[in-house]
Symmetry: C2
Subunit: 490 residues, 2 copies
């Protein structure tokens, strides 16, 4: 089958397919989306768990209900004589998880004599505006938005500064990674009265309509894999055709099912595109977590997992040999420990989680991030279809995304109007495609981290850290010191 | 009766009184609150009336309804080759009125080759989110807020720049007076991506809890009257005691009723405080409109009306003589043309207007502005009682004000974080007490206008303009030019 014929087939599949989640609502953003990756807490950080009453609706007064926002507080390093407050703007998940996976804040807190606060994002973890009913109907989800979350953070900061003895004169710096990094940046943009600056790690604040070409995410993912092995990418590129052609051969679906050890068998052409989307998600996720060491929260993966994946695809392959080699990659990703019975390609185990449900809703309202591929790199041909996304959202939540809202609300590329934000991005991270990669001004500073994955700089220091991330952290620390009018350190 | 006894009486009255509107919800803000003042349109400005579809709720997605926002557009001066857009951020009333009473924009538009746009504030004029039902129940009022209004303005500006041929590269400057001035400043603060700067005239953005002492407004009003005549203020100060004592004399209520020509008679001690509040409102309003000329929209008043009022109170008076002289002031204010049959002190005629209803709701939610008097100046003793205001609001609208919200949302005094805002204030204007009276930075500039009343600088030029307002307008024009990178002019 020729390339052009194949594209037509794929497009036909598109028109009737049962969309995979990533196609329905956009790419999963946080590593946390994969439930498996959230189970381990690898350290012994000491903190207290506290709660603060927040308005359910900051922007209207008819609903005067409140809910308890969870936040974590560690004051063992803090100097009440002017020590700063490092405030993590929680993203789409349990705040415990972000607290335990943002080692950078813990690593530098003693030196800065800082108070650490990790604030949970409403609708996640325990911070549920309507308790156990929160996700039971779409109207309860109406207050799940970045604006409400920022107002929560601002109110909490004001409360802490007003009530913690010694905090009144403590400057506050926001920290965040991924969507949390977007929130950290936006908190500085919209509420510079509460934070003097922000470290926004791997924050794709420009991954929105009109700000970044929809193929940039795919291109960056491809580049990360190309850096490991061009032959590997050729094989992956070829694999979509091979899956297609194999499926049309006698016993093809069964071969694929058995080779990949799939829990649910492939049975018809309608399964092909979702299966391919599942593979693309895996390539994206591996690029996101392409850390130099076996990540402590990702014990199922080796260091430099993209390189390991490509080790199975380092020679030009075709046909069933290619699929067998590819199956080693999925096995590494899903079954590194050998304890998994089969590969659950139709459900990564996160479907029931709040992080999953909440982020889908956010992707259907504000966080609609156009992504596409022309099929020339690591993904198959995959156009962006806003109307399709919008229709899916309406079907599920009775809401439609407003694709231009975020760029209006958060100033798009007019960031010379703000100050004191660090935008750090690892160049291996697909999300860096929507990030701020060049400094905007003397105080809105981009830091690129070669060979860095998704907010690597926010993770705890590690003996296997690359020189690039060590340099980035030193630079970040010195910028934080300059905001705090401290002398530069190491 | 001694002074101290009187205060106790007044305080006793307070505990049982039927509160006047200004006590229930805070002082009326815009001149527009007096319906009588809105009836005349004195010029022949030419503009088109247009409408733009806005989301009813910018901050939630469950309600996807839209409504038509009215805006006025005058392009006869505009150079489509980069001429700026002067955008009036409408306040609490018909946008036609603000358009016709903001002559400064019309006066300078030809010189700047500017496009003029006047955008109506939601819930006022014709811009009613729920049509004729908008004010029928409290839940429909839920989307009446400054944040929603700013988002309307931002969306409208984006739309105009995207759709008007030639507008794409037109820099936008926001203009506004009074609450409209607050919105102009806040638009620059929260959306610097849509406006390059703002002229905020008589914008009391600090008239909120914790930012300005509650007696400042009363002190400024007193100072304006003192500038006309200290004896006048002594008489007004004394009048509260005289009203109190006269009311307790035989035929006292009837004397007051007849002397002032009141439509509704005073009949009991419960009427006293509302009647005094009515007088205080008059003194405030006269200070606000203390313009050097018979204002074209205020044809019922002479130039320098405070001075005229004080001409009746220029000698030390007491007893019935004082009340008869005071009645001349109320007659001047309410019946300058001689066509009014009686003084309607229980209803200024605005009670049914949207401006009145809408602003009361806003005063019960975000715009809660603490005001008080210790009785040493032009007002009687009048403490600020947030709980009472809150209870009244709850009774009327089933909402309670959040007294610290505005200062969090709009950065309180941290305005060094923004840029390109002019805060102009007339020193005669009581609202200047809550305004920005000193420059914050090189680009956040305060302009004081001695002998200036409420946003005098925004009014059309007049042969009787004071040198101070002429100077202010020249300074404003040159700052606007500097933002637009034009050479200074006259």
């Amino acid at each position: 089958m020729s390339h052009s014929t194949f594209i037509i087939v794929i497009l036909n599949i598109f028109s009737v397919l049962i969309l995979s989640e990533s196609l329905r609502f956009g790419k999963p953003m946080s590593i946390l989306r994969n439930k498996k990756l959230t189970s381990r807490i690898p350290n012994d950080y000491k903190y207290r768990t506290l709660y603060f009453n927040q308005q359910v609706d900051h922007f209207g007064f008819a609903n005067n209900q409140t809910f308890k926002q969870r936040y974590l507080l560690a004051d063992q390093f803090w100097s009440r004589n002017g020590g700063p407050i490092f405030f993590y703007t929680g993203n789409e998940g349990d705040i415990d998880w972000f607290c335990n996976n943002t080692g950078y804040m813990w690593d530098i807190a003693p030196d800065f004599k800082a108070l650490l606060v990790f604030a949970e994002h409403r609708y996640y973890g325990e911070s549920l505006p309507f308790g156990s009913d929160t996700y039971k109907n779409a109207t309860f989800l109406n207050y799940l938005s970045s604006e409400q979350a920022l107002a929560d953070f601002a109110e909490l900061i004001r409360y802490l500064k007003a009530t913690l003895p010694g905090a009144q004169n403590s400057p506050v710096i926001a920290f965040g990674g991924s969507y949390g990094g977007m929130l950290a940046a936006w908190l500085r943009i919209k509420y510079p009265n509460v934070v003097i600056g922000s470290l926004a790690a791997s924050a794709p604040i420009w991954q929105f309509t009109g700000l970044t070409p929809c193929n940039a995410f795919d291109d960056t993912t491809s580049a990360t894999w190309l850096d490991a092995s061009p032959t590997c990418v050729d094989n992956i590129h070829k694999s979509y055709y091979v899956i297609e052609s194999t499926s049309q051969s006698e016993g093809g679906y069964q071969f694929i099912t058995e080779t990949f050890g799939l829990c649910s068998p492939l049975t018809s052409k309608y399964d092909l595109q979702p299966f391919m989307a599942f593979l693309v998600d895996m390539y994206v996720n591996l690029a996101m977590v392409n850390y130099p060491y076996p990540a402590s929260f990702l014990a199922d993966l080796p260091g430099w997992p993209v390189k390991v994946a490509c080790s199975y695809l380092s020679e030009p392959l075709d046909g069933k040999d290619l699929l067998r080699a590819l199956a080693k990659v999925t096995n590494m990703y899903f079954n590194f420990t050998g304890n998994t019975k089969c590969v659950n390609w139709t459900d990564d185990g996160s479907a029931g989680s709040l992080g999953y449900q909440g982020w889908n809703y956010q992707s259907c309202t504000e966080m609609v991030m156009p992504m596409c591929s022309n099929g020339s790199g690591i993904s198959y041909n995959n156009p962006w279809d806003f109307q399709q996304v919008s229709d899916n959202c309406y079907e599920t939540y009775k809401v439609r995304p407003r694709e231009n809202w975020i760029s209006l609300e958060y100033w798009a590329k007019q960031l010379k109007e703000t100050s004191n934000i660090i935008f750090s991005n690892g160049l291996y991270d697909p999300w860096s495609s929507g990030g701020v990669m060049e400094s905007i001004s003397d105080t809105v500073i981009a830091i690129q981290i070669p060979k860095g994955a998704h907010h690597l700089d926010l993770r705890a220091k590690n003996p296997l850290d690359t020189p690039s991330v060590i340099r980035a952290r030193i630079q970040e620390g010195n910028i934080l010191r300059s905001w705090l009018k401290l002398t530069p350190g190491l």
